[in-house]
Structure formats: C-alpha cells, structure tokens
C-alpha cells in the first residue's frame, strides 16, 4: 500500500460524498436539493437514539436478527483446508440481506414526510423487500422492473403484487436492471415533492452509498461479535459476492481496520472475463459516471454503457458501489471473479454438503471460498456471507442442468 493510505479505511466518504476519486453526486439538478435534504435528514437520524432504537427493534422482531453464524463442517471437510463459516443472512425475512437496507430507508422516508415509495429491481429481491416494508408501514409502492426480468422472474412479480406493490415493466432501453433504474430516476424527478427512492445497493448519488453501507453493516458488526464469542478471534478471510456490492460492504466495513483480516470480493465472470459476457465492473470495466455516482462501469471506448451478463440476475448490473472502486484502488480488498459454471457447481456443493440451497449470488462467493480454502491451513478461518436463499433460483438452475420441473 502507498504512503497516501489513510489511517482508517472506515472514515469514507468525505463531506462531498467522495470515496477517493469515486462516488459524488451526479444527478439532474431537479434531484440535487432532494439529495441534499436526504443527507441532512440522515445526519439527524444518525444522531437520534430513537431512530436507532426503532431500526434495531424492527431488525430483531421483524427481520429476525441477529442472523446465525454457522460453521459449515461438512463443506470444510469436503474442501480439506480452512474452516468455512457462514453468516446466515439468507434466513432473514424475505430471504436475503436486502431487507436490512429497506428497513433503514423507509424509516428515513417517513422522517422526511414522504408518502410514496419507488424502487428498481432486477431479479426481484430488492423489489420484494421494498414491497414488504411498504406493506408493513402502509405506504404506496411502485417497483420498476425490466420487462425481460418481469418475464423471467414471475414468482417475485407475484410476490410484490401480493404485498400490494404496483410493478411497472420497463421496456425502454433493453428492459434490464439499468433501464429499470433509469425509469426509477425519471419517476423520482417528476415526483420529488412526495416520493422517496429506496435504492437497493450501495450506489447512486451521495449519501446513498454511505447510508446503504451503514444499514447493511449490521451484518459485519454481528459477525465480528459472534466470531469473538465462538472462537475468540477474528476470521482470516472474509468473502462475499458483489453485484452493486451492499452485502459485501455490510460484512467488510466493520473489519476494514483489522489488518489481520483479509477480504475477497467476488464478481460475476459470466461466460468468462476474456469475452463481453460478464458482469465484472471492477475487473473488466473502467471508471465513469452512471446513476448518480462515479465508479467502475462496463462501457465501450465512447462511454456507452454495455450490458452485464451473469447467470445470477442479482449480479447482472454494469456498475458497482463507489466504495468498492476505492477499496480496489487502495488494495485493501482483493477482487476476483467466478464464472456461471463455477457458481452452479458451488450451488450444488452447498446443497449436498450442508443442506442449504443458496441463491446464485452467494454461490459465487462459495465458489471462491472453495478455491481458496484448499490452500489455507486447517486452523485458518474463512467467513463468507450467505446473503440470500436459492428458492428464487431453482428454475434457472433446473434449466441450466437440463431438468424440466
């Protein structure tokens, strides 16, 4: 690491929302006053013990936190190296880590007096989590979802509708997650007076990357205390999958200043990093500006955004949270990528060794764990975030395995 490495990795972003060269606020002027309001309100909420109390209470009694810390004994045996532990965020209400952030943001929306919620969703997990908190607090909810994703993820579309949300299929552009986000921003700019946009990952204009990270940091805070409890020390390596990067930041952030803890972020390599069919913004992209922040993006030489590909719809986004861009450049976190095939193998491995059907997103993390564990001593400890359960993915997996269900 260079001389300019700060004393702490946990004091980002700066007051203008920059993580080194990344982050910032790149939005249409109509949204700027609102984004500045949100920052003021978030600072007030941070200083308000009642806000924290309500957040903690909902996480405990509604989401089901703390999530367990689990030693995967048979997976460890099968891999024959480091001990593998999982943070079980797939056991949360709605089946993924997404709900942690949605609880925090809807409490902010209510504080700001907003009466209408919008969100974008890709595979539908963030849409379901948003629809869930909107039902819980009785606020109308509009979810933007690419028309192609609506077709592929019909069970989640039905879930959102059951929860009272309006699901708007987005046909502009190519009808994928980034187009859904564009449409969400268009709605927001036209309805700034009453609408709150619940962004699903640690990206977007400042303060979203910071506040999403903070709400998700409950994962790492719990894990740090649970590890201390169970084995009396910190893990040697943290591993998490990365689409926008919120589950990884949630796990990593509380450990960033522990020099003995290494960290590995796992991007989706799709059909391989040597072609165009991947979603690895950090390993295969370049810095640029999209959706309110500067970060690594999949783009061509003219700055046109290219489509990501991954077997996992939750990783299929051409950008990444700006804090990851900074953590990559500083070298504090290592980033790697896992192909569709490797993720599918890891998915099946976890099913058979542990009786846990993981989502395809953490299957990427599990595949990376499998590669690393072998070469680590048996007394070393890997902690991976099992950020979602795989019920939603069984149709995709069946299709890839050539099984008709």
């Amino acid at each position: 690491m260079t001389e300019s490495t700060p004393n702490s990795f946990r004091n980002q972003p700066d007051e203008r929302g920059h993580f080194g060269d990344y982050g910032g606020r790149y939005v249409a002027e109509t949204l700027m006053p609102l984004v500045l309001d949100l920052e003021r309100e978030y600072r007030a909420a941070q200083a308000d013990p009642e806000f924290q109390r309500e957040f903690d209470d909902l996480l405990e009694h509604y989401v089901g936190r703390p999530s367990p810390l689990y030693f995967a004994e048979r997976l460890t045996e099968a891999l024959g190296g480091a001990q593998v532990w999982f943070k079980r965020d797939e056991l949360n209400h709605t089946g993924a880590h997404k709900i942690n952030n949605c609880i925090g943001q809807i409490l902010l929306a209510i504080r700001m007096g907003k009466t209408r919620i919008i969100a974008e969703t890709g595979a539908g997990q963030h849409g379901v989590a948003t629809a869930t908190v909107c039902a819980r607090f009785g606020l109308p909810c509009v979810i933007y979802m690419g028309a192609e994703d609506v077709r592929r993820q019909s069970p989640n579309v039905f879930r959102m509708k059951l929860l009272g949300a309006e699901v708007v299929p987005v046909t502009s552009g190519r009808g994928t997650l980034k187009d859904a986000m564009n449409e969400g921003l268009r709605d927001w700019v036209a309805n700034v007076h009453d609408t709150f946009y619940i962004i699903g990952t640690a990206a977007g204009p400042h303060p979203y990357p910071e506040l999403v990270r903070d709400f998700q940091s409950v994962i790492g805070k719990e894990a740090r205390a649970q590890m201390q409890d169970r084995i009396g020390r910190r893990p040697d390596l943290l591993v998490a999958a990365i689409g926008g990067g919120s589950n990884a930041l949630g796990l990593f952030h509380p450990f960033l200043d522990d020099p003995d803890v290494k960290m590995l972020g796992v991007e989706a390599a799709g059909h391989g990093l040597d072609g165009d069919e991947h979603a690895a913004s950090l390993l295969g992209g370049f810095p640029g500006v999209l959706h309110g922040n500067k970060t690594y993006l999949l783009q061509d030489e003219d700055g046109q955004i290219t489509e990501g590909h991954s077997i996992s719809a939750g990783l299929d986004y051409p950008g990444i949270g700006p804090e990851h861009a900074w953590l990559k450049d500083t070298g504090r976190v290592e980033y790697t990528a896992i192909t569709d095939e490797e993720a599918l193998e890891a998915f099946q491995l976890l099913c058979r060794t542990e009786g846990i059907i993981p989502a395809l997103e953490p299957s990427h993390a599990i595949a990376a764990v499998a590669k690393r564990a072998k070469d680590m001593p048996k007394d070393s400890v890997i902690l991976a975030n099992l950020c979602g359960r795989g019920d939603k993915d069984i149709f995709t997996v069946a299709e890839r395995l050539g099984v008709e269900i």
Partner: protein, 277 residues
C-alpha cells in the same frame, strides 16, 4: 463570482442573446436521421442557438421522444467521433450560429475532460450542457472547458431555491438553462406565471441570459414564454418530427422552427432592468 468572465464567454452565444428579440434554441440528437440536413433546416427556419444532443445509452433525464432518438442514433452506430464531425461540418457551413453540445457526463469524460474540451473546441463548439453533472462536480468538466473559452451551461429547476442558486451560477457561462418543470424532457408544461416568477427570481442573482425549456412544443407556448425569458428551448417536438418523418424531416423541421421563431422573435419582453430591481 456570479458574473461570467467576459474573456471566457463565447462571442457567438452572447451575440445570440444580445439581439433585440428573445432567442429560439433548438435541439436535435446527433446521428438521428440526416443530422446535417436537420441542423440546416433549424437554421433556415430561424433558430438562434443550436443544441446538438450527444447520444447516450442511459438518458435518464429524458422522456420517451428523446430516449427513442438516442436509441435510433446509437442503433445507427453513432460514435463520439461522428458527433464531433457533425459539429465540425456544421461550423464550416454556419460560421456565426452558436452551437452547444448537450448530453450526459460519461461520454464526455470517457477520454478525460481535457480531451473532450479540446475536441469540442476544435469542432467549433461554443458551449456544453451536461445533464447529470451537478455543480458540485464541476471539476470534472468545468475547468477544462472554461480554460478553452467554452461555456459550461448549468441548469436551474423549480427545486433550485434562492439559497442554492449561487452554487448553480458559480461555474455557469453563456446562458442559464431554466428547466420549467420538475420532470423529464417533453412531458408536461409549466404555467407561464410560474415561469415568469422563477425567471425574475433567477435574474435577481445573475446577468446571464435565461433560456427556458422542457415541455415547450407549440408557437403559442413559445410566444408566451418568450415574453418572460431571454430564450426558449424546444427539443422533444423537433426530435419527434425526425423520428416520424425520416428523409422528409428537414422540411417539417423548417416549418415548425419557422413558426416557433416567428412567435419567439416577435414577443415583447418585459423591461429587463425592472426584473433585476
């Protein structure tokens, strides 16, 4: 700090706003149809300032009309080099008509701000509007443009209050683009009374000309706005003609622009001094 440095303000842009009538500002997307013919039609119809849209895959501040124009242009294979060539050729044909590039940050900064500012300068461009570059991120584009005498034109909206306005005006040159509705391009229209109130509010803080856009489609609307502003911007209505009429678009563009120009140029403006009192 609110006044643009006279040395860095484009002469073509300031001349366009120094005429004895309000300015008509016309937008089309580069690479959508026969752009050279479309631009010539706008000038022949009486446009005072040309905005040339740089296509982007993710035009998140634009409504359906300009979104489709972006898709048509990129689908036809338009590159940044093509946009710059269109600008260069326009400048050769029309040495005196101000030309502004309008688009999103990523295509503008892809090769670095210095590269973009130099290329735009060489192409004869007078100013740049970057929809998603908040004044807070001015460093990404502003210094490189201003150092070459190009204006970075900022947008102000109904949500930009008096407290925030100085931040928007600080780096702004050429003119201020007042977005009359909180929304995306081409959708709904604002009340002229609201526009008048906001324009005079802005003029209390700056001597820059104020051009008003978003939702202006007809000569009647343009005439009403021209009475309370220094310029009127029309985009989506023109871009729709390009999409609907293909090779016949230039004739239609000339016709609509002529009607708009007549309406805007004959509008009697309220005395400027009183607005600033």
């Amino acid at each position: 700090m609110n006044e643009p440095d006279p040395m860095t303000t484009s002469n073509r842009l300031s001349s366009a706003f120094a005429k004895n009538h309000p300015a008509l500002v016309c937008f089309v997307t580069a690479g959508d149809g026969d752009t050279a013919a479309n631009l010539d039609a706008l000038v022949e119809g009486g446009a005072d300032v040309i905005e040339l849209g740089m296509p982007f895959t993710d035009p998140m501040a634009d409504g359906p009309a300009i979104q489709k124009a972006n898709i048509r242009s990129l689908g036809a294979g338009t590159t940044t080099a093509d946009v710059l060539r269109i600008a260069t050729e326009f400048r050769a044909r029309h040495p005196d008509v101000p030309l502004v590039l309008m688009g999103y940050a990523n295509p503008m900064i892809r090769r670095g701000p210095e590269w973009f500012a130099s290329a735009a300068k060489d192409a004869g461009v007078d100013g740049v509007i970057c929809v998603d570059l908040a004044p807070e991120e001015d460093a990404d584009l502003g210094p490189a443009l201003r150092a070459r005498g190009l204006d970075l034109i900022y947008l102000s909206t109904p949500t930009t209050d008096d407290e925030r306005l100085p931040a928007v005006l600080r780096g702004c040159g050429g003119f201020l683009y007042y977005v009359s509705v909180a929304g995306i391009t081409g959708k709904q229209s604002a009340l002229v009374a609201d526009i008048a109130k906001n324009v005079s509010r802005i003029k209390r803080q700056t001597d820059l000309p104020v051009a008003v856009g978003f939702g202006v489609r007809t000569p009647d609307q343009a005439a009403a706005i021209a009475q309370v502003a220094d310029g009127v911007v029309v985009g989506s209505a023109l871009v729709e003609l390009v999409g609907d009429h293909g090779a016949d678009a230039p004739a239609r563009l000339r016709e609509l622009t002529a009607g708009l120009a007549k309406a805007v140029h004959s509008a009697a403006r309220a005395p400027r001094k009183e607005e600033k009192a």
